[in-house]
Amino acid sequence: MNKYDLIVIGGGPAGMAAAIAAKKAGIDDLVILERDSVLGGILNQCIHNGFGLHTFKEELTGPEYAEKYADMVRQEGIPFELDTMVLSVEKIQDSELKAVTVISSKLGVATLTAKAVVLAMGCRERPRGALNIPGTRPQGVYTAGTAQKLVNLEGAHIGKEVVILGSGDIGLIMARRMTLEGAHVAAVAELMPYSSGLKRNIVQCLDDYDIPLLLSHTVVDIKGNEKLEGVYIAQVDDNRAPIESTKKYYPCDTLLLSCGLIPENELTGGAGISIDPRTNGALVNESLETDMPGVFSCGNVLHVHDLVDFVSEESARAGEAAAKYIRHGLGEGGKSIELKTGNGVRYTVPCRINTANAPDLTHIRFRVTDVYKNVSIIVKSGDTELIRKKSQILVPSEMVDVILKKDKLSSASDTIEVFIEEVAE
């Protein structure tokens, strides 16, 4: 029972979509391993709406979106193990199989093997310590997602007077949520001159409730020994250094941090799989396969997404690729093309394309490094432009997705560059 064709690590939106796609592609011998006691991952605490517009053409809450996928998992008869934590993933020597060591009350410590593995562990929030905010370490400082879990799933009233640092989507959502819970949100401070959250969230979660968004501001001191008493917020200069004269005190009992998400790749790193320092996710090819053959990565563990719909779509591709790998292996002998980033592009997923495995349409996903208006996205190989796409606005908070047709690859050399062309007005 410990041998599988496919093990999917993570039962959130990414893992479920990958498993369903693999099953539909003919893989029956598979299992989803989920560390929580329910399927759905972080969606279970996202009780706001706005999910599913792309996938289901309707607006769902997080738990509803998760439930639709969980229903599909059950309908497809895909087995899943809950309360099961994966401790390690390793390639078995002199074999194509991977060993996945798990722990649960039911299984104890057990080692499962699989021909293919899909990594879909999601991401975690950047904690206060990693932000190097000086001051005390009192009760009342939470990452936004932890606060969201406490409020939405535990029904806890965590505070009355709130300051939020970072304008990531969870922070914005929590600004509204805390307001609806009866708290007063004094401000959302954002270090950068632009928000790291979606425009629609700024409008629906801050503007609609008159919550000020302080761009180019940060928390410079935290006060209160046992319980939080207040924070100092200051404006920052062009080098993101706080300007002392702008320091202002905000009394508060709650500070929420929404300062970035970090893909949870401890298992990936432990397996010896190469990590892209720009995304903190695995380096993957067109099949979303890592540099350990037969191990695929998708969703927020690969790179942080802003919409779950894109997670599901991407993960289904990973599941299909894993199925293909299990059934007859991925093609070899094609041309390997490296994707390079140019002006304004922080990273790309994938970062390699093997022409032998490229699907008809290859998604190239990336984020820009700054706010760009009226520019063109260029995908170019040598002197040949493969894609030129005009865009009115590009912001770092919104992932860009361009689609490269397979026939274009024949005219590509061994590198493709993706960059933003800024046109002089």
Partner: protein, 474 residues
């Protein structure tokens, strides 16, 4: 009426309690916080110093060396983390090598074994990540790293098991002396005792002056630290000090006994003894100084920063003696190497007590203690055994440190159990990892709320519960 009341449940108070529990005495420890190990003991360098630094002839030297010798065996018997990893003191200027020689001389006079002076090249051979500017170093083989939380809890739990009463969440508000002994007024009622040991750390001066009219001064000296992810823990294997020069005392870079990397501290005298805030200047200084010792410290992997306040006495040495008031014993000014010295201070206090009252050894004293199992450090077959016995060990609560529900429940339910998130963290490491309790704290809060019979939102990170009447654990 207790024979002995100890004020303060830090490393010193708990070590004294443990030592005294070997004898036929009734002992009570009074602590203002809701847990042991809440003051200076919880935020320091976590080093068991070899003993080459203290000036020969001082109490610091004597008790440091004794403490260093006791530590390994105690760790074994009382089940707390200890690793003899050795230390180096780095010298960056040929003209300062005399400073290393002075330390070596002190080591000899203090009776510290395994100390030698090595060249910069030899130092880099042993610790490849040391910078090129290191020109010589003192090597001290007996230096060790410990877990101060586990050590103090081990002392406290051992004392508790041998009959010492812990009166937590009880702030001492006044002490009066009558013919019968001392009456200690606390926020949760009176405690009477024949002998009082003042182990109140930063506040030992205030406690002292409740009884004595002779002056005793304590200054709070704040030290700021940065703690890095376990992925950075291999940067050095030994504890790396810098030779104090006219430029300042320098900072250390050390692995922790649990495999993280720790750098710090700063040393700033501060007015407010409770001010354990960090500052951007302090943390910046720590980074700059640490970078003189070790190349490419991955400061991007910092998971938390903290500061602790050391209780610096006004004599330059530990102040451990019976005061001018008979039966009132001070254990004050316990700055570095206080953590290392703690077990020896416990013995020394026992000697002082034996000069006041006769000590009769207990027949049934138990000299071992079993700590909370560290699931993560067990073999797979040991883990399976444990899960078979108790399914809670199959449930991982803290992903980063692989801490199970079984460990957290043990931390909450054992004698002197945790009542706060920080209490659980210090006992189990849940929340100590790279996500800094993001994922595990809602679960831990739920488990604490269930045990305490309160709402999840009422669970405290630290400090004293409003309704706390001071619980006694016997």
């Amino acid at each position: 009426m207790y024979d002995v009341a100890i004020i303060g449940a830090g490393a010193v108070g708990c070590a004294a309690a443990m030592e005294l529990s070997k004898y036929e005495l009734s002992v009570c420890v009074i602590e203002k916080n809701s847990d042991v190990c809440e003051g200076t003991t919880k935020a320091n360098s976590a080093i068991a110093h070899a003993g080459f630094d203290a000036k020969p002839g001082t109490l610091k030297a004597k008790l440091n060396v004794r403490g260093s010798k006791l530590m390994g065996e105690l760790a074994e018997k009382l089940d707390f983390a200890y690793k003899q990893n050795g230390a180096m003191v780095l010298c960056f200027d040929e003209n300062d090598i005399s400073g290393l020689e002075e330390l070596k001389k002190r080591a000899e006079l203090n009776g510290v074994q395994g100390v030698s002076i090595i060249t910069g090249d030899k130092a880099r051979e042993l610790e490849p990540s040391l910078t090129d500017s290191v020109c010589a170093a003192l090597l001290a083989e007996t230096s060790a790293i410990i877990c101060p939380f586990e050590m103090t809890l081990a002392f406290a739990e051992n004392a508790c098991e041998n009959g010492v009463v812990f009166r937590l969440s009880s702030r001492v508000e006044g002490i009066s002396k009558s013919d019968k002994g001392f009456v200690i007024k606390t926020s949760t009622g009176e405690v009477t005792a024949s002998i009082v040991i003042n182990a109140a750390g930063l506040y030992a001066d205030e406690i002292h002056s409740m009884v004595s009219s002779t002056p005793l001064g304590i200054t709070a000296r704040r030290g700021e630290y940065l703690l890095m992810d376990k992925a950075a823990g291999g940067a050095v294997s030994r504890t790396i000090f810098q030779l104090p020069t006219k430029m300042g005392k320098g900072v250390l870079v050390t692995p922790t006994v649990h495999g993280n990397l720790l750098v710090g501290p700063t040393a700033d005298n501060i007015e407010d003894k409770d001010d354990v805030s960090t500052t951007s200047k302090g943390l910046g200084d720590v980074k700059a100084k640490a970078s003189l010792s070790v190349k490419n410290i991955p400061f991007g992997k910092v998971i938390t920063s903290f500061s602790g306040n050391r209780a610096v006495g006004d004599t330059g040495d530990f102040i451990i003696q019976q005061s001018d008031v008979k039966g009132f014993i001070d254990a004050a000014g316990i700055e570095s190497p206080g953590l290392t010295s703690a077990p020896a201070i416990g013995e020394y206090l026992c000697e002082i007590v034996s000069g006041i009252t006769e000590l009769k050894p207990k027949n049934n004293y138990k000299d071992t203690r079993k700590g909370i199992v560290h699931f993560n450090s067990l073999s797979y077959s040991e883990r399976n055994e444990l899960i078979k016995k108790n399914a809670a060990y199959g449930k991982i609560v803290c992903r980063c440190e692989t801490v199970t529900e079984g460990e957290i429940l043990d931390a909450i339910n054992r004698p002197l159990g945790a009542t706060t998130l920080d209490g659980v963290k210090r006992r189990t490491r849940a929340g100590m990892g790279r996500c800094q309790a993001g994922f595990c704290s809602p679960v831990t809060m739920k488990l604490l709320a269930e045990k305490l019979g309160i709402k999840v939102e009422q669970v405290r990170k630290n400090g004293v519960y409003d309704t706390d009447r001071g619980h006694c654990d016997e």
